[in-house]
Amino acid sequence: MVLLSAQRWIRSRLTDRFWRVQEVLKYARHFRGRKNRCYKLAVRSVRRAFVKSTKARREKKRILRALWITRIEAASLEHGLKYPAFISNLLKSQVELNRKVIADLAIYEPKTFKSLAALAQRRRQEGFLAALGDGKEPEGIFSRIVHHY
């Protein structure tokens, strides 16, 4: 808006208080109701929002890990394995991939995930043979442990 006369300029002055109020209101713009417009309500809401976001950083790690586990469980069930069997057999075969990477593989590289599930299944069978077969059969191939030190 172009204010042409000096009196109009003075009537719409931007005081320091305006900038101090805007500093708070800019974080409340996407709220619902009067909290996004009225300073008194916005101060309380913005402070609570900041506190919640600080505390939620610890919860985010837990939430994301639970999300990954859900996805890995769904993907391994497609290949006929349950999540505890999948993860434990993968660890026993010395495949140390974390849940984030395995979940991303399950989404973007389905064939790789299928081969991981097949590896876990094979290791599981070898584990059963070793436990129930009582030492007469040869040791499983995928049960061998490689020492890197």
């Binding site: 989404i107 973007y108 389905p110």
Partner: protein, 130 residues
């Protein structure tokens, strides 16, 4: 080779106002040294009356950053200038993810029919005969 992202630095200050004192001292003492140390940054010094002293930084991707240097000492202005010279012009906001790919999937992204037998998708004359 390193390409400095800072294109030009405009130092706007007033020759008489009190809050531009640090800017005037910077221009007298340290501006020439700064210009020699950063040969690929163009330093413009323009005195103008009436407004607050500003340090305008323009980057190669077009972003313009204004920093107020009112009531700052010459040392502080020099540190500010070196900080701006080391930055790139990208916006200073929270980066959501520290990684980005244009091709996230090599084998083809999963869809509900990836692990199902292909009899569900393929329609051929042979299947109908059997």
């Amino acid at each position: 080779r390193y390409v400095r992202q800072l294109q030009r630095l405009q130092l706007l200050f007033s020759p008489t106002a009190a809050d531009s004192r640090g800017a005037r001292q910077f221009v007298e003492e340290a501006a020439v040294d700064f210009a020699r140390q950063h040969p690929d940054v163009v330093l413009y010094v323009s005195p103008r009356a009436g407004s607050a002293p500003l340090l305008l930084a323009e980057y190669l991707n077009g972003t313009v950053r204004e920093e107020l240097i009112a009531s700052k000492t010459s040392e502080e202005i020099k540190q500010l200038a070196t900080k701006l010279a080391g930055q790139s012009g990208l916006d200073i906001i929270r980066i959501r993810k520290p990684f980005h790919t244009d091709n996230p999937s090599v084998q083809g992204q999963w869809h509900p029919l990836t692990n199902k037998p292909s009899a569900l998708t393929v329609q051929g004359p042979r299947l109908q005969l059997q």
